[in-house]
Symmetry: C2
């Protein structure tokens, strides 16, 4: 019996889609790098069905690709032809909100925004948040250890997970749905499944931390002249603001290009560094007083405080940089480096790229507090080899500073061959040992994350 | 050649202590449950020496017990006779403080208080803190995922580790000394070594997060009548105080026993619940205003705000409860439960114990925000079987609420046989798979954490 027949026999045709019934969207995530339709798409509605599907696939040595909202940027959810997809989108819903414990238990297929709204209705903030909130799913957020815009206050996704349930390649259900802040009973197994991009098992449920909903928000756009002032301002803001919720740095080229693209102007002249600084939950007076102090310390040269929601939107519009999408073959790098060297890195990598590719557009912005910067590069209608060369130039600089080639987007297939730029041979070997222990037949999302040994 | 001869031949007699040179203190941690002197004690001064020692022991199938400051409470660092101890206390020192990144890199043997002071001198707070700070070591803090008194603000030890270096059983050095807040490059290997109590490898170095030093502190002692008011106060404090740094609940029996033992009095009568609430970094006015609001909401019935350091010390003295040490054969349970059921649990377990052991002293306090309570039980000069029976009664209640039999102290040997009360057969099996993958000869701290299958 073929694997698809075996799956259909146990799970039924409503769950197992094959042939013409395979949806086009199962081909690729948002990186649009996926080229193949899978052999079949399984859409389980219960944890037990996930377990059954994996047990059958494992017995057949059938490769399995887990899929969530398909909003990834690294190809981690893209099937090869012949792979079986397990889509989590029907294993969805909030199981429980425990207001006393401050926890939410949700199934993997729950859309992030649905979970956020459920938390808000219960009077809480779900700290996990990112641009793709309307389509990405909790299971995908956990599998990729998603970053996003609240990391400065609440940490990455990993920091917001208390418990987790996952199904191993052989169909074993590992239910670790812990609701406690402290629990030192043996190995913290959930950590294995967070950020491993579906290569060690399929996450089916999670217990997430909830926080009190903050009241009020204050936002300022600040112009600074020196990178050391940016760092000093960050340190002061962490210490002096009661709820620092954003500290986003735009280097001059990024700020100018985006500002002009949006037809906006703020200061008389653009500064070498522009920072959006935001506070959630504190008073407007305290925020203004803080900025006044920073002026006196000569850390900031100019500042605008948002007087309305519209002002705030104008600041953020420049930072979001929709205007960059107009650049041909834009490459958006997502790297992290020790905070102190971010400017040096940005300067050096820009110089290297401009030298090798005259006329290239390079601009940089960053979640500085998270050590994370994004570098936008566009060298016109280049071929794949040139794009690969640009990648290599950037990642060589990352390696030199012992940085990370992927701060928040993950590895998938697109960064897989660069993984040794950030991880040692011993680390990669240990990852393979773990992989072999949990998935001895190698059926879980093969070809993703780990370079071929 | 015997393993001790092989170790001495490669490392020298200054590093390898055998026979009469084995110090008495290598017998037991603070649980005083250790009964045996080891075969030898190795005191490496470099990571390479740790690797050499493990490589030799692995080749000989020699069991190894890592030791830090020996302040554990679960027997996790106690050798069996015949085991070889690797003591980290000479692999000590701060390697680096990166002020821009807010990180400290320290060797495993660094005493916690030494690391804290180094951070303070550089203008930072090292968030990891616990009572044993003067003797416990960073490596032990990480291996046990220590909790302590700053968890409410900064999380457990795991949350404060960015990078880590560990040596596997076969001597492979896994150096993952990441300094970035975000890094999604493959599996997060450091998580394996944090909290696994030396059963998967020996931690040699770590990169720890530093936070800005907070200014000022305000402390109050509050009397409350109902547990739901305690939960509501916690929720409000998390939302309304800018730097909530302690929320410690004492149930009436605990408060009265400790208060009387210290010869202190605070309110006209003792309340069913007494809470120490503390803020770090905010203003005294805001703290007073917050408490005023809580009065108006009728969440608190009485409150004293510390007017001096001496006042503050008096509050904390009751909570620290030195007076309990006078009770014969005191058992200090360290359990966690979903926050909403903490009071129900405390009431039920007290009733069960009082029914089975008439005259038993039972009292409870807790780090409520961390889901963690400590239960003090003393039934007089009991024998081991009775003590075991008391353990069982408590842990059966924990199991019933899907709680954790160890919130912060770890499993070691003392709680090993109760681990199935908090973890499923599938979880234990997966732990064993991980253990076998990293330590195929089973030399790393055998007999600890994992119950015999």
């Amino acid at each position: 019996m073929t694997v698809v027949n075996a799956l259909t026999a146990e799970l039924g045709e409503a769950i197992v889609l094959a042939g013409d019934r395979i949806p086009e969207k199962s081909r690729s995530d948002q990186s649009l790098s996926g080229k193949h339709l899978p052999l079949a798409v399984i859409r389980p509605t219960t944890v037990q069905q996930v377990a059954t599907a994996l047990r059958i696939c494992n017995a057949h040595g059938q490769a399995v690709v887990p899929q969530g909202g398909m909003t990834g940027l690294a190809g981690g959810a893209n099937p090869r032809s012949g792979d079986v997809v397990i889509s989590l989108d029907r294993l969805a819903g909030i199981e429980d909100i425990d207001a006393a414990a401050g926890t939410m238990t949700a199934f993997a297929g729950t859309v992030l925004e649905v979970a956020q709204k459920a938390a808000e209705e219960a009077g809480f903030l779900l700290p996990i948040d990112l641009g793709a909130r309307g389509s990405c799913q909790i299971g995908g957020n956990l599998s990729t250890n998603a970053g996003g815009i609240r990391v400065i206050t609440h940490g990455v996704t990993r920091d917001n997970v208390l418990g987790l349930e996952a199904v191993l390649a052989d169909g074993t259900v590992i239910s670790s749905l812990n609701r406690m802040q402290k629990n030192n009973t043996g190995y913290d197994l959930k950590q294995l499944f967070i950020g491993s991009e579906g290569t060690l098992g399929i996450i089916t449920r999670a217990v997430l931390k909830l926080k009190p909903l903050p009241d009020g928000r204050a936002t300022a756009l600040c112009g600074l002249n020196r990178f050391e002032d940016v760092l000093a301002l960050l340190h002061e803001a962490r210490k002096g603001l009661s709820g620092l919720s954003a500290f986003e740095l735009m280097w001059e080229a990024y700020f100018r290009f985006s500002r002009e693209g949006e037809g906006l102007s703020f200061f008389e002249a653009d500064y070498p560094f522009t920072v959006i600084i935001e506070q959630s939950g504190g008073s407007d007076e305290a925020f203004e007083a803080f900025l006044g102090e920073m002026f006196e310390k000569e850390l900031i040269s100019d500042a605008l405080i948002a007087q309305s929601e519209k002002d705030r939107e104008r600041f953020w519009k420049v930072r979001e940089g929709a205007t960059f999408d107009s650049l041909p073959r834009l490459i958006n790098f997502d790297v992290s480096l020790p905070i102190g060297v971010l400017d040096q890195f940005a300067t050096e990598v820009t110089a290297s790229l401009e030298q090798e590719f005259p006329g290239i557009h390079v601009s940089v912005f960053g979640h500085v507090a998270d050590s994370n910067i994004h570098l936008c590069a566009s060298a016109g209608e280049i071929d794949e080899a040139t794009e690969h060369r640009i990648d290599t130039v950037v990642y060589e600089h990352v390696r030199q500073y012992q940085g990370s080639i992927s701060a928040e987007h993950g590895i998938g297939t697109l960064k897989r061959d660069y993984l040794p730029y950030s991880r040692s041979a011993e680390e990669l070997d240990l990852m393979r040992r773990i992989k072999a222990a949990l998935d001895p037949n190698g059926i879980m999302n093969p070809g993703k994350v780990l370079p071929v040994a």
